[in-house]
């Protein structure tokens, strides 16, 4: 296994091609659950959990079921089914095994099904032709990048509550501009060569 390639995937997915700020995957929860740091940490953990597992399962299903039986055109349907049932399953398992974690993640889990980052990473992994380990690592790193951006934005938004904002910019408008500035900061990573 080539460690340097894995390292490149990790840095690339977290910083250079950040899922939210460079690829625009998962913008809905980015705007929706970034009001408080505590809830954004919960969402980040839930997404990391689901995205890592979803990446590996969709890879297995694609390469061992869809490809051999020549069912490539069922990709979208199969993936969304896998993700939806996976989210349900994860919710049940967490509820039974760790009530505390369930309390922390509970509300966010159903939301993940419609998070485009999860389906997006599954399709991207197939398009890039990653092998199993690279797929899992990419899913995990992408989710970590997602969480980092989410938590940073939540931190800024908590401060924004106390600052004076022109009336027309109040609400979501200023959040979008903040996200734009954040994206600009993350663009600084784009020149990085690994």
């Amino acid at each position: 296994m080539d460690i340097s390639k894995l390292f490149a995937i990790i840095i690339g997915s977290i910083f250079i091609n950040n899922f939210i700020l460079a690829k625009f995957l998962g913008t809905c929860p980015f705007m929706g659950v970034s009001k408080k740091i505590s809830s954004s940490i919960g969402m980040g953990m839930a997404v990391t959990f689901v995205m890592t597992i979803a990446s590996s399962i969709t890879w297995i299903v694609y390469n061992y079921i869809l490809l051999p039986f020549n069912l490539k055109y069922l990709q979208i349907i199969a993936f969304i089914l896998i993700i939806a049932s996976l989210v349900q399953f994860v919710e049940m398992v967490i509820q039974k095994t760790s009530p505390n974690l369930y309390k922390a993640l509970g509300v966010f889990l159903p939301l993940i099904t419609t998070n485009c980052a999860v389906l997006g990473v599954a399709i991207l992994n197939i398009q890039e032709g990653y092998n199993f380990i690279e797929t899992t690592v990419n899913g995990f790193a992408g989710a970590v990048g997602f969480s980092i951006a989410l938590i940073i934005l939540a931190g800024i938004r908590e401060r924004l509550e106390y600052s004076e904002i022109p009336k027309s910019f109040q609400g979501v408008a200023i959040v979008f501009i903040t996200a734009g500035l954040l994206a600009m900061a993350f663009m600084g990573f784009s020149g990085m060569k690994i």
Binding site: L25, C28, I76, K167, V172, G180
Partner: protein
């Protein structure tokens, strides 16, 4: 009778505009609007899926048991998106390449599932058709406007025509590249929303 359908249509464009009012489907809104033509293409692809899914959901709403309705809708939408994906791959390959990942991601666009659940599951076929048409048109218009602003500021073009150079001369015009890069998407949408808020406030004051 036709007045009612007109109302369903027009509400989607303004009062319940999916992008600027409901804040739904943000990923494609931000992701593909680096030029006006991409915005139009993405909007139309979503519009078609939305209309067909609204009509079909409305048709089968009496046969689907209440408990499994969400998975059923998701399956239906995923099938439609697969069809759109294949058709675009076959006939408009250039646009298909640019929109790329965002075409399969129409499945998880909350607008479509949202309309199926909130409108089509409770209303007749014709009303659902107009609801889909209205919301889809609103989405297309928002995407096109966003794409136009970004293309003019970021590349000095409009629908691929070198519009700013003709207007002010090539030597005086320097496009701001940042507007067609990812940060530009967030910033443009933020300013457009602030503009809409400003107009709303002004109208509100006039009414008072």
């Amino acid at each position: 009778m036709s007045g009612k359908y007109y109302k369903e249509f027009i509400k989607g464009v303004f009062k319940e505009n999916p992008t600027f009012v409901l804040l739904l489907g943000l990923c494609p809104t931000l992701g593909v609007t680096s030029s006006a033509i991409n915005g139009v293409a993405m909007g139309l692809a979503t519009l078609i899926v939305l209309i067909v899914s609204n009509v079909l959901v409305s048709m089968i709403r009496r046969f689907i048991p209440d408990k499994i309705r969400i998975p059923a809708y998701v399956m239906l939408i995923a099938t439609l998106v697969t069809v759109v994906d294949m058709v675009m791959h076959a006939y408009v390959y250039e646009i298909y390449k640019v929109l790329g990942l965002f075409i399969p991601l129409i499945v998880v666009n909350c607008i479509i599932l949202g309309r199926a659940e909130a409108f089509a599951a409770k209303n007749g076929v014709v009303a659902s058709f107009f609801d889909g048409l209205g919301i889809g048109t609103g989405f297309t218009i928002s995407l096109t406007v966003l794409g136009m602003v970004r293309e003019i500021l970021g590349a000095g073009k409009l629908f691929g025509i070198n519009f700013m150079e003709i207007l002010v001369g090539a030597d005086k015009w320097q496009p701001a590249l940042i507007m067609i890069l990812p940060p530009g998407a967030f910033i443009t949408l933020g300013f457009l929303m602030a503009g809409i808020n400003y107009i709303k406030e002004k109208k509100h004051k006039e009414v008072k």
